[in-house]
């Protein structure tokens, strides 16, 4: 039950992009087509999960132990950046097909706030997550990100065919759509 709550909360109620504003740049950048959005979501799920696990361990067994929590930002980002690159290198060799599907999105993830954001949130003392909970939280957050992005990509592909007024065409209307999507997602608030 506890896990279900974490999952529902992270996907719908506190959706990373729509409610928490994390990872907004790729949310807009890579959502022009549904296919790309799906690929990006896959990559995010993968990296976010691994990154959260690694940083969680780092936090609990290094930073907390030496009481140097203030080094959180710098170590986390270092870990994430290296991790992304590592995954990219390995994937390219080991599974070119998977690399084709996900690899191209990997570099984009380093500068995706959502990954660092979720890693930072997962170690927040208020939540008091253990490793498993943190992992579930990361996976669910990433799925929430992916869900929002795929829906959004569908809407944008649709908008491409519509007769949008000149000034609103492209990015502006995308923001309005994102806003209305967030408005709709507010309906989930309070589910717990």
């Amino acid at each position: 039950m506890e896990y279900i709550l974490i999952i529902i909360s992270a996907i719908f109620v506190n959706n990373v992009v729509l409610m928490k504003f994390l990872g907004v740049c790729p949310f807009f950048g890579v959502s022009k087509q549904v296919g790309t959005a799906v690929g990006m979501s896959g990559a995010v799920v993968f990296v976010m999960t691994v990154a959260t696990i690694v940083t969680f361990i780092l936090q609990k067994y290094v930073l907390d132990v030496f009481e140097i929590q203030y080094m959180q930002t710098i170590t986390f980002i270092l870990v994430i950046a290296s991790l992304v690159q590592l995954v990219e290198i390995i994937l390219k060799k080991v599974s070119p097909s998977l690399f084709q599907a996900l690899g191209i999105f990997l570099p984009l993830i380093t500068t995706n706030c959502a990954v660092l954001g979720v890693a930072l949130l997962a170690v927040k003392p208020v939540y008091d997550y253990d490793l498993l909970q943190a992992t579930v939280y990361a996976v669910a957050s990433a799925i929430g990100f992916g869900l929002a992005m795929v829906i959004f990509a569908g809407l944008r592909e649709h908008m491409e065919l519509q007769d949008i007024p000149k000034g609103m065409k492209g990015v502006p209307i995308a923001f309005v759509v994102a806003g209305l999507l967030a408005l709709a997602f507010m309906g989930f608030s309070g589910i717990a």
Binding site: C25, P26, G29, I68, I74, I89, K93, V94, T111
Partner: protein
């Protein structure tokens, strides 16, 4: 040095070093061959990996740049123009200066020369109309005037003249991209060398009907009378299927054909105004003049109102 500082330094540097070692090891171990130009392009790109270019990540964008044939639709918003031109340089993709080609409209059949016998009421698209039938006038070759070519032009070099209902080329904008030629279902548009000082002479008609039929359908049609052919000293003119064609490579811009054409089908572009001719020749002139006046007065007579109406009509329909 106190404890915290030591711990900090050790932790962070070891994370850094471990990362470097692992990455190095991995990049050696899992090396994959790739087009080296991709690296070069990637180097030029800002590595912001922001996705602003529409591709996921700079490297991916670099790959696309290397693989695609043209950089026209590719743009990195972070790096900007400078960055893109460096990319082009690396890839050796600068557009080499070709002979400038420009579009010419080979139909002169404004409504006052070419009576409309029917009214087309389908979707306003040249191809749809010409797939359906020969067109609103008796000339089955002429421009149908629904502006598909103008829509196809990405450079704002073509617009439809509301009075003549024919496309007009803005030469300065025309890049010779061929889009309009492909778009036009009637093959009205031809790309011709812009010519010396942008001066050109060409036959603005593609009617292949026999003289009488052509003339009946359109007052300014080429009737294939061969007068120009006979006049031309440079063999620049051929006549086939009752239609004259001027070879741009042979034409020396002597303008003799322009004067002899009884229907005014031959156009001269950007040539200086003619010197006043000796009196003898003027007996031919009135006719020519009449044509010109016709266009002029027609243009003047059509009040602004009507033009607006025309546009309104089209807008209504397309909306």
């Amino acid at each position: 040095m106190n404890e915290v500082i030591t711990a900090t330094i050790i932790t962070v540097s070891s994370v850094g070093v471990v990362a470097a070692v692992i990455l190095y090891w991995a990049s050696q171990k899992f090396k994959v061959f790739e087009d080296p130009r991709i690296d070069k392009v990637e180097e030029i790109l800002p590595a912001a990996n922001c996705g602003g270019c529409g591709y996921p990540g700079c490297r991916n964008f670099a790959e696309v740049c290397v693989k695609s044939d043209s950089l026209d639709d590719l743009f990195c918003p972070v790096g900007g123009n400078g960055c893109m031109s460096s990319v082009a340089k690396v890839l050796g993709r600068e557009v080499s200066e070709k002979d400038k080609m420009t579009a010419v409209i080979r139909c002169n059949g404004a409504p006052q020369f070419r009576k409309k016998t029917t009214h087309f009421d389908g979707a306003l698209n040249c191809t749809i109309q010409s797939d359906l039938y020969a067109g609103e006038t008796a000339c089955q070759y002429g421009c149908v005037g629904l502006g598909e070519c103008a829509d196809a032009c990405d450079f704002n070099a073509l617009h439809m003249d509301p009075i003549t209902e024919l496309p007009v080329v803005t030469e300065a904008n025309c890049t010779g991209c061929n889009a309009c030629v492909v778009a036009c279902p009637k093959d009205i548009i031809e790309l011709r060398p812009a010519g010396k000082k942008s001066r050109r002479i060409f036959v603005s008609c593609i009617n292949e009907d026999r003289g009488g039929a052509a003339k009946k359908a359109c007052a300014v049609a080429c009737t294939g009378c061969t007068l120009c052919f006979k006049e031309c000293e440079y063999d620049a003119i051929v006549i086939e299927n009752f239609l004259a064609y001027i070879d741009p490579l042979k034409c020396v811009l002597c303008r003799k054909c322009v004067q002899v054409c009884p229907t005014g089908a031959i156009w001269e572009v950007n040539l200086p105004p003619r010197k006043a001719k000796p009196a003898k020749e003027t007996d031919k002139k009135p006719e020519e003049k009449k044509e010109v006046d016709l266009i002029k007065t027609a243009k003047e007579n059509i009040t602004e109102n009507k033009t607006v109406d025309n546009k309104q009509d089209k807008k209504n329909k397309t909306e």
